[in-house]
Subunit: 383 residues, 2 copies
């Protein structure tokens, strides 16, 4: 199929910042793109050939949108899967496959899948609701402490709670859930895997999330992770296996833990470009976004190696500020070496809203880390 | 001034591929952009906030367009300068300045400027027309051989002719012209200089144009140039002086020759992003396009160093093909290491039309050069 300056059409469900950055790389290939998003002010709106406003969870909306596209992909998982299934049946290429999206959607089923496929993951038990979980505790089939997770719908820390005693169960929502063993870990890692329909497969280097020493919040995504080479190789091997097990086409971001005894356990996956891969725009030979496009169009995958060390800092709205956004000290950080701000194009800031990110690249990781800290301490997202 | 996610508006005169790539970098800063171009199908059309179709040489069109913008820049020099002058008088920021555009427009005046500012350049004589030049020959005030240049309007090899005898004068157009000394040179080089209104100034590394051994055509733009370090330093110093002499704001691409005895002589300049800087998207810490934006918005300049070696190959329409473009073997070259195609988005190819370019990056220059040759020999722009 001829994708370049042709009548080929790629459809993207979701028009947020991931879509915006994905579209950026469609421009250099001159691929026609259609975007569906509920918001009139979606960051993706400007860089696509045609923008459609509509509900991503409505069968007809997604189905009619998909009918116009040769290949359909997503930048957000929460979309109408029945419509995607029907489109796939009718011969449209849908990547990631609706089957995988359905499997991933329920965290209990996702964990079962890892167990069935011999993918290392922490022990888990599934419960239809909190009463079911309570019963298991009563019968000593479940012990404190554990990690409670809502089976569906949680993200960015929502729907997850560490439960150390019965007190922590108080006020948990009445939804299907799971309990996972609380694994003491040294590091939170992620590996992005790119795989095309031919089965060509490549992993990006392992990245490390560095947390704020007090607040339990990721401060920096660091590539490559400052970990032992053998652990890194193990993490990449595990991630490869996860992508193969799903028979995945496109990007798969595999989040995992490095345990105290240097084992790798898979936490969860995202079947699309991922926050942990934003560093790749500046640091990698081929950005995660370009490789997602290459993968879903069954083109050869680009080199996933890094040219230089990369660190990513998220720009989130500061507490106490809501309204027309101002990026305080952005000019100051732009004077630092190897610093590129990415402003997503949301006019209104509010507390903790993801407004952009900043990438810091440098030949020398220690230097990059130093500059990243200056960036973090300088810039403020206020109104 | 706050440029990021604000009401600030940047206007760009011209909507070709340079504008398209420039706009790409405005997206990550979320800067509002307006584009004026005569073609309904301008490559820039998709990535700007507002597209206006109009004649770039019409006073009213350019003036009315400029009135809507806080800062105005160009991606093509051939625009109505009177309108830009009036806009500048009225307080709009116009970069490059209309004064510089006027000075550069006439190659005779441009050469005079170099002489006045002690910038090394080949000897030249100006003539009002070809008869005036003929008189100089008759009076022995001019000798063969020399390079004839049309004073205005020529580009990409048009309006330039090597004149070795009276026979070569036959059929030259009746226009203002100049005769330049024919300087034997080893290499054709270029240096891009970025300078902001504060006067911060940085040069990119020297690039080298490698010509086809038989056809007199640039095949590869190579960064860094494979030349002696001292010559490279001299070239960068000369380019810095040229930018300062113009008091230039924005990018200035300085084209020059390395003579047989390792002198640097300036040939001509382009006051904007330039074909010789396309490699920078993949190879540099900061692309030429991002630095043009930083410069004209008086932001701190980004690092102009390279992460890796970069080679650029232009994709031009093959002779004998006109119509809906096909990029033959594009999938093949995408399988090579470090290869990124940039397709400009022109649907119709015709002989020698600039349709795109391909960048090859690699840690090792020799390896990049080998892959560049494979790219050049594989890809064909046909219909």
């Amino acid at each position: 199929m001829n994708y370049f300056s042709s009548d080929f059409k790629l459809g993207i469900l979701g028009g947020g910042q991931l879509g915006k950055m994905l579209l950026n790389d469609t421009r250099k290939f001159d691929i026609q793109t259609l975007v569906l998003d509920p918001s009139e002010e979606a960051p993706s709106r400007m860089s696509c050939n045609a923008f459609y406003r509509g509900n991503l969870n409505d069968f007809d909306t997604v189905y009619q949108f998909g009918k116009m596209c040769h290949v359909i992909t997503i930048e957000i998982e929460n979309v109408n899967l029945e419509a995607l299934e029907k489109l796939e049946e009718e011969g449209h290429l849908v990547y990631p496959s609706p089957k995988t999206l359905r499997l991933i959607k329920n965290k209990g089923r996702q964990k079962d899948f890892y167990v069935e496929n011999n993918i290392p993951t922490s022990k888990h038990q599934r419960f239809v609701d909190i009463k079911d979980l309570q019963n298991a505790l009563d019968k000593d089939e479940l012990d404190f402490p554990f990690v409670w997770k809502s089976a569906e719908g949680g993200y960015d820390g929502n729907g997850v709670k560490i439960v150390r005693s019965a007190l922590d169960l108080y006020n948990l929502p009445e939804v299907e859930c799971l309990a996972e063993a609380l694994v003491p870990f040294k590091n939170e890692l992620a590996v992005i895997v790119a795989r095309n329909a031919k089965g060509d497969i490549k992993t990006y280097p392992v990245v490390e999330m560095e947390f704020h020493p007090e607040a339990n919040q990721v401060e920096y995504v660091i590539c490559p992770a400052r970990i032992d080479k053998k652990v890194a190789e193990k993490a990449r091997a595990v991630a490869l296996n996860v992508s193969k097990a799903f028979n995945h086409v496109g990007l798969l971001a595999v989040e995992m833990f490095q345990t105290e005894d240097d084992e790798i356990v898979v936490n969860e996956v995202a079947p699309r470009p991922h926050n942990s891969g934003h560093y790749s725009i500046e640091a990698s030979y081929t950005s995660q976004f370009e490789n997602h496009i290459r993968a879903i169009l069954n083109l050869p995958l680009g080199n996933t190696d890094s040219k230089v060390a990369g660190i990513m800092v998220n720009l989130v709205g500061e507490e106490g500020y809501t309204g027309q956004v101002v990026y305080e000290n952005i000019e100051k950080i732009m004077a630092f070496d190897g610093v590129t701000p990415h402003i997503y194009g949301k006019r209104e800031t509010r507390p903790f809203r993801k407004m952009g990110h900043v990438t810091i690249v440098n030949e020398d990781m220690a230097e990059a880390r130093k500059i990243a800290e200056e960036v973090k301490n300088s810039i403020r997202v206020i109104s």
